[in-house]
Structures are given as C-alpha cells and as structure tokens.
Amino acid sequence: MSLLTILLQVPFLPEQASSFAQEVDMFYLSLWALTIFFSVAVAVAALFFMLKYRRRRIDEIPEQVEGAMALEITWTVIPFLISLFIFGWGAKIYYQMYTEPKDAMEIYVTGKQWMWRAQHPDGIREINQLHLPLGKRIKLTMTSEDVLHSYFIPAFRTKADVVPGRYTMTWFTPTKAGTYHLFCAEYCGTQHSGMIGNVIVLEPSEYQQWLAGGPKEASPSATGQKLFASLACNTCHYDKDGGRGPSLAGVFGSQVKLENGTTVIADEGYLRESILNPGAKIVAGFQPVMPTFQGQLSEEQVLQLIAYIKSIGAQEGAVAAKPAASPAPPTAKASPAAPTTQAPAAQGGQKKD
C-alpha cells in the first residue's frame, strides 16, 4: 500500500520550464500512446492466438495459411506513414532548436573537467550555475577546454554537446521561474556525474538585481578589448586598413576573400581559427605573418576576443582599439611577452573569488 503511494508520487514528466517543453512532452506522450497501442495490439493478438489455437493433438498439422499480399502491404504502408509523421514532428522541433534565434541574449559557456563556466553579456561570470531572466530568449555559445561535455537542462528539454575545437549553440526561452538541474550529459571522465549545477530562472527584475549584486566585471567584449591590446593584436590590426593585418572592423559575418581564391564567411569558428591557427586561411592581400596564439589563450579568452571583434563589427569600427589612442592600456597583469600559462590566471584576477 505505502509502496503504491510512493510510486504514485513519482512524476512522469520533468518540470516544463522552457518554450520547448510543452511540445516535446506532447510528442513524447503521443509516442507512448502509439507504443502502447502497438505493443498491446501485438501482445493481445499473439496471446489470443496462443490460447485459441493451442495444440490439441500431438499429431495435429494445422491448415497452412500462405500469407496474404494485402495484409503485407497494409502493415508495411501504415507503419511507414506513421513513421513519416513521427519524423516530421521530430524534425520540426529539431529545426527550431538548432536554428539560431533572433535577438537572443548571448551567454558564453565553456566546459572543463569538471565544471561549467558561464559569462553573461555584462560580464558577470559564474561557475556551475546559470542565472537567467524569465521570458527572454537566451542563446548559449559553447566550447570545451578539454574533452567532450554536454550541456543538458532537463526542465528545458535542451541539450547540446560541448566540443573542443568547435563552437556549438543551444537556445531556449525560460518560461517558469525556479531552480532546475543542469547536468553534463556526455561522459567526460571521473567526475562526470559531479559536473552538475543549477539553472536559476529569475523574474527579469530579480535578474537585474542579481546582476547588480554580483561582482563588477567587464563585459566579454570589454575584456576582449583589453586582451586585444595586451596581446598586441592592435599593432597589426588597426580600425582602418593599412596595418600589417586586415582591419577587423565589420569583419564578423562578412565574406572574406582568401589568398587561395576561395571565400569564407567570418563566423565564430573562422575567427577562432584565425587566432589559433592563422596560417590555415590567409586573407587575400596579406602575408602570413600573424603568430599563432594557440596554447596562450584559454577558450574563455578566445571567446572574449571574438566578442570584441563582433562588437566592433556592430559599431562599424567606431570604437576599434586604435593603438595611438590607447597605447596598450595598463592592464598590467597580462604581459604579452609571456602569456603562455599566465593568461588564464591573469584573467582570474578579475574574478572576485
């Protein structure tokens, strides 16, 4: 009796806290209905035949039924149509989940054995937590410092692998305030099951309060701007053409002509590659002189640089770091000469903890 009550308390669906949740649940329940229908139909038929046609004499040889084309066609075509329907529904949801949202608030996430780091547009960072404003479209741009991870929020019904060397994206709109599980869903080593956290959805006003209460930190693009100066990128990249490197103003999202005659769209992946492996794609009209920054930057810093490059795209180069105007702002900690392993530590200086 008490066992039954305990069992009845077990929920069948997790909380629905994002704009995707309802449809995914509907879909899920419909598939269960279908599954129950087919398994019960098959099981009942089989059991019924077994009872009805049980062997009555040891030498019984039943009348042979040779098979029937009409039946075969029926049970080929009907499952086929059903499965097309399932495919269509699934594909529709997937398309929404993986199409880049418009006007979303962008949060950068990096996974690392075994923690989640996130940085909000206004600079606040958090570890293993994610505070979100209710009702706002959120886009996560994610990468990993080491192995594969996967950012999984069951209450939102979203998940995306976090892959070293690539940027992946996931997005959602939280629809219900509360605290939800955040899990790492891709096996990533010893503490995989400890790579968990909370997603905390706040009313927009509370979210603002939370932001205000947090440690003052520069936004990713502002940090990126500082990095840009401290790593001396601006000795080659000015806001106008004329430097040793191309101007980066407005480059994000544009078509870049390469030395080998092909073109590339300058998105996050391309910018990342340009910084970490500049020789891979040479911009037409330039010499391959840019040094590689591989091993000198954490993924988080690369993201900040990208955020900065994106921002100068948006403002048409208005605030591009001009070497003359800001002759290597005294960020002091990151000495560009030896940023190898220092860099992440230097960055840590800005964190409160």
């Binding site: 741009t141 092909t262 073109t263 590339v264």
Partner: protein
C-alpha cells in the same frame, strides 16, 4: 550453379600486355595533368581528374588482371557492392561536413573552402 563454368576462361596474353600499356599511359597522363593548376579554373578539378584516371586504371585491373569481366555474376556483385559500401561510408560522412548546419555558430564554415568556385 552454372556459374563456375565461366571461371575457366583463360585471358589471352595480348590482353594482359594491352592492359599494362594502358595503365602506363594513364599513369603518365595523371602525372602530366597534375602539373597544371586546374583549380584555377574550377574548384576541385585537379582531384576530379586524378580520381577519374585512377578509377579507370583500377577498373582495368579489376576487369582484366582480376578476371572479373569473365567471372561469375556473384563475383561481379561482390565487387560492385564493395564499392557501394565504401561510397556509403564516404558520402554519408561527408554529408555532415559539407552541409552548412543552418543556425549553428559554425565551425562548419571552416569547411566552406574547397568546393567554392574561385
């Protein structure tokens, strides 16, 4: 099981020499062509030419040196199915890499280079 009678076919010597000659000629062609920058005219033209020639050469070897032209239907099916499965492996994986995943901030654009006409 009438298949195996065909197995006893003996290919005349001159066929072997002709095939060898053709293989040499094609090798020369492929080396010769490879010196020119055909990609200047159209994206992957160099590799297309190289692979076409290589495929012709391989086909000659399979048909004559390996007697598939004279072999049982079953052997021929085996050969073709091998190519078919290899194609599955290559094509379906490349499908992932070649298709722009709309919306994903793309690593995928790293991939946009070769096949664009330049």
């Amino acid at each position: 099981m009438a298949e195996h009678t065909a197995e006893h076919h003996i290919v005349p010597l001159k066929v072997y020499f002709a095939v060898f000659g053709a293989l040499m000629v094609f090798t020369a062609i492929t080396v010769f062509v490879a010196q020119f920058d055909l990609e200047h005219y159209w994206g992957p033209l160099n590799i297309i030419v190289a692979m076409t020639v290589a495929t012709i050469k391989a086909t000659l070897v399979v048909l004559y040196f390996m007697h598939v032209r004279y072999s049982s239907r079953l052997t021929q099916v085996i050969v073709v199915s091998g190519l078919f499965w290899l194609a599955i492996l290559l094509v379906f994986t490349l499908m992932d890499y070649l298709s722009e995943p709309a919306g994903q901030p793309s690593w995928a654009s790293n991939r946009k280079t070769i096949f664009l006409p330049g």
